[in-house]
C-alpha cells in the first residue's frame, strides 16, 4: 500500500502540469524513498526526470516499489480542482488499479483515478558532460525565451566570457538577450569552455511551465549537445528536463 500526504496540494498540481506539457502517459514509481518519474515525450526529443523524496511529504508510507501509470491529461484535470490551503492525499492499495486523490480543506474531496498498465521502459538519462553551467532566476530565462519566440521558433544559446546570450533570428526579425553578472541576473556561471547550441522554442517554453515550482533555473549545455534544465523544489525534490539540440539548418 502507498499513502502520501502533501501539505500543499498546489505543489503536486504544478508537478503534474510540468510533466504533462511533454508527456501524455507515464509511470510514477513509488518506493520507500519517495516518488519518481522519468519519461520521454512522444517525439523522443525531450525527457523529464522528476523526483520527490519522502522528506518532501508531511507523511509518507510505501513498503515496496509500486508503479503508478497515469494519463496526465486526466490527472491534470483532477489537480485543477485543487484549492488554496488544501492538503493532498495520494493513496493506492496493493490490488486496486486506481489512485485515490483526496483534497483535504474545509471539506474532504476524493477523486479516484483509473491507472494504466503501461509496462516499464527503463530509461537512462543522457550521459553528457556539460561545458557550461548557468544559474539564473527562472523568470529571467522565461523572459528571454518569450523574447525569442517573437521572432523565431528556435533559439541559439551561447555561454562565453561570463555571459549568457540568448539570440534568435527569423523572417520576423532578430533578437539578442544578454544576461550578465553585473545586472545581478546571472547568479553563477561555470565554463569549462565556451559553448553554443540551437534549441527548439516549442520544447523550451513547455519546460518553463516548471518555473512555477522554483524561482531558480539551472541551465547546462555543451556545443551542439543536449541541454539540461533543472528546477529544484523548495521542499526538496526536483524536476530535470533534457532537450536534444536542434540541427543546424542546411
Amino acid at each position: 500500500m502507498f499513502k502520501a500526504v502533501l501539505a500543499d496540494s498546489r505543489i503536486w498540481r504544478n508537478i503534474i502540469e510540468s510533466i504533462s506539457t511533454l508527456v501524455e502517459e507515464g509511470v510514477f514509481i513509488a518506493d520507500p524513498t519517495g516518488i519518481r518519474l522519468r519519461a520521454m515525450d512522444p517525439s523522443r526529443v525531450a525527457m523529464v526526470d522528476m523526483e520527490l523524496p519522502k522528506t518532501s511529504f508531511e507523511s509518507y508510507e510505501c513498503a515496496e516499489e509500486m508503479p503508478i501509470g497515469v494519463n496526465f491529461d486526466d490527472m491534470k484535470n483532477i489537480m485543477k480542482r485543487a484549492g488554496v490551503n488544501e492538503k493532498l492525499e495520494l493513496e493506492k492499495l496493493e490490488k486496486e488499479a486506481r489512485l485515490k486523490i483526496r483534497f483535504r480543506g474545509k471539506t474532504s474531496r476524493t477523486f479516484s483515478l483509473p491507472l494504466l498498465d503501461l509496462g516499464k521502459e527503463e530509461l537512462s538519462v543522457p550521459r553528457i558532460s556539460f561545458l557550461a553551467t548557468v544559474k539564473l532566476p527562472a523568470a529571467t530565462l522565461m523572459d528571454a525565451i518569450k523574447d525569442a519566440e517573437v521572432v523565431s521558433d528556435f533559439v541559439k544559446i551561447t555561454a562565453e566570457d561570463e555571459k549568457l546570450k540568448v539570440t534568435a533570428s527569423g523572417d520576423r526579425g532578430e533578437v539578442e538577450v544578454e544576461i550578465t553578472k553585473d545586472s545581478g541576473e546571472l547568479l553563477s556561471i561555470e565554463l569549462k569552455e565556451n559553448a553554443h547550441a540551437l534549441y527548439s522554442l516549442t520544447y523550451l517554453s513547455k519546460m518553463m511551465v516548471a518555473s512555477d515550482l522554483s524561482d531558480i533555473a539551472i541551465l547546462m549545455f555543451s556545443t551542439d549537445m543536449p541541454l539540461r534544465l533543472d528546477f529544484n523544489l523548495p521542499n526538496g525534490g526536483r524536476i530535470v528536463y533534457y532537450l536534444a539540440p536542434r540541427m543546424e539548418a542546411e
Binding site: P42, R44, P126, S200
Partner: protein, 398 residues
C-alpha cells in the same frame, strides 16, 4: 495467461527473422542508402498481410543501425497536429540519447480513415518531403486509393505470407523455449491454419500449449482457418478469367474490399477487359441487373437479395467473355475520385436548392426537377433579379 508469446519470443536480431529475408534485406539497404543520401525515393512503404514481420523488421533495423525509432501508429496520426508534434518535432532535432540518427516510422497506415484523417495523411506527406531522417511506412493494402500520393514518393517493399514450413521451424523453437513438447503433426496443423500469419500461429500455439507439457496433434482439433484475403487486382483477374459462375463468385468472396467497392471495380474495368462491343454490352447488361438488386437492398434493406446481385455482376462479367482470357491492366474506379472532387460543389448546390426550396415553399426535389430548368433559362437570358444571389454563387460554385 502470461505475456503473449508473440511478444516474449520475438526475434531479437535480423538474422532470426522468419521468412521475408529478402524484403527485410531490401529495407535495410534502402535505410542505409537513405541515410547516405543516395536513395531514389524519399520514403519506403512496407506492405503485406498481417503477421508477416513488417513492424518487427523495422524495429530490428533501427536496432541494428543504432537509430532512434520514432514510431507512430494509426491512433497517433489522426490529426495534422499530432503528426507535426511527434514526427515533425523529431525530424528537426538531434537525438537525445546519443543515437546515430533516427528512423521515423508510421505503422498501420490502413487504420487511418479517409475523410476525418485527411489532415494526418497530408502531414505525413510533408514529413516525408522535409525529413532529414529516413521515413518508413507500413500498410496491409498499399493499393488503397488514399495512399495514391504516398505510393508515388515511396519505394514499395513487399512482405509475403510466410510459408508453413518456415512457421513450423519457428513454432518448434518457441515450444522448446517455453518448455512444451509438441508433436510435429500438431505444429504442421497450426502452421497451415495460420495461412502465412506468423503472429496468429504463435498465438494459436500459446492458446493450445500454454500450461501443458505435451501437445499432441489430436489436441489441436480443428483450428479455424484464417481465410486468405486476396488483393483487389488478383480478385479482378480471378473474376474476369473465371469459366463458371461458381469460380467467379468464389473469387468475389475472397476479396478484401466490401461488396460495393468490388462492384465499382467491376464497373470500371469491364471496358478495360473487353474490347469487343458485344462482350461489353453483355457484361454491362448483367451488371445493370445486379445494380437493380443492389438498389433494392439499399432502399428497402432487403439483404436477402444481395447474393443475386453478386452472382449477376461477377457471373456476368466472367461469362461475357467470348474468347480466351486476355491479360488486362485493371484500374481503380474513377467514380470515387470524381465524387470526392465534386463534393464541395455538390454541397454548395444542395445548399442553394435548400434555400430556394424554403423561399418557394416546396421540396428540394421539386426545385431540382421542376424549377431548376426555368432558372437556368432565366440565367441565360440575363434576367435574374429574383435569383441574383443564388445565381451568382452557382456560377462560382461551378
Amino acid at each position: 495467461m502470461g505475456a503473449p508469446w508473440s511478444e516474449s519470443y520475438k526475434p531479437k536480431t535480423l538474422q532470426e527473422l522468419v521468412g521475408n529475408y529478402d524484403s527485410a534485406e531490401e529495407l535495410l539497404k534502402w535505410v542505409k542508402e537513405s541515410i547516405a543520401g543516395r536513395a531514389d525515393k524519399k520514403a519506403a512503404l512496407v506492405c503485406g498481410p498481417p503477421g508477416t514481420g513488417k513492424t518487427l523488421a523495422v524495429n530490428l533495423i533501427a536496432d541494428a543501425l543504432n537509430l532512434e525509432l520514432i514510431e507512430m501508429n494509426a491512433s497517433d496520426f489522426r490529426t495534422e497536429e499530432a503528426v507535426e508534434r511527434v514526427a515533425g518535432g523529431a525530424t528537426l532535432q538531434g537525438s537525445l540519447l546519443g543515437k546515430k540518427g533516427k528512423l521515423i516510422f508510421f505503422d498501420e497506415l490502413d487504420g487511418i480513415s479517409g475523410k476525418e484523417d485527411r489532415g494526418g495523411l497530408g502531414a505525413i506527406m510533408r514529413i516525408i518531403k522535409e525529413s532529414k531522417y529516413p521515413v518508413v511506412l507500413a500498410a496491409n493494402d498499399p493499393w488503397d486509393p488514399r495512399f495514391r500520393q504516398l505510393r508515388d514518393v515511396c519505394q514499395m517493399i513487399k512482405f509475403k505470407r510466410i510459408r508453413a514450413p518456415s512457421i513450423v521451424v519457428r513454432l518448434r523453437r518457441i515450444a522448446q523455449l517455453a518448455g512444451v513438447s509438441v508433436e510435429d503433426e500438431a505444429l504442421k496443423k497450426i502452421a497451415e491454419a495460420a495461412n502465412g500469419d506468423m503472429r496468429a500461429a504463435v498465438n494459436d500455439l500459446q492458446m493450445l500449449a500454454e500450461g501443458k507439457k505435451i501437445l499432441r496433434a489430436a489436441d489441436v482439433g480443428r483450428l479455424y482457418s484464417r481465410t486468405q484475403e486476396m488483393g483487389i487486382f488478383d480478385v479482378m483477374k480471378e473474376i474476369f478469367s473465371a469459366n463458371t459462375i461458381m469460380e467467379a463468385r468464389a473469387a468475389a468472396e475472397s476479396a478484401s474490399v466490401d461488396l460495393e467497392m468490388l462492384l465499382q471495380w467491376i464497373n470500371e474495368n469491364i471496358p478495360n477487359q473487353y474490347n469487343d462491343p458485344r462482350e461489353r454490352a453483355e457484361a454491362y447488361d448483367w451488371f445493370s441487373k445486379a445494380d437493380i438488386f443492389m438498389n433494392r437492398v439499399k432502399r428497402r434493406q432487403m439483404w436477402d437479395l444481395i447474393s443475386y446481385a453478386v452472382e449477376l455482376a461477377v457471373g456476368g462479367a466472367a461469362l461475357a467473355r467470348r474468347g480466351p482470357y486476355r491479360f488486362t491492366k485493371y484500374s481503380f474506379p474513377t467514380r470515387i475520385g470524381i465524387l470526392s472532387q465534386s463534393k464541395e460543389t455538390r454541397g454548395k448546390l444542395m445548399e442553394e436548392y435548400m434555400t430556394l426550396a424554403k423561399e418557394l415553399h416546396t421540396s428540394v426535389k421539386k426545385v431540382r426537377t421542376e424549377y431548376l430548368p426555368y432558372i437556368e433559362i432565366l440565367d441565360e437570358a440575363g434576367q435574374r433579379p429574383f435569383f441574383r444571389s443564388v445565381g451568382s454563387s452557382r456560377e462560382s460554385g461551378g
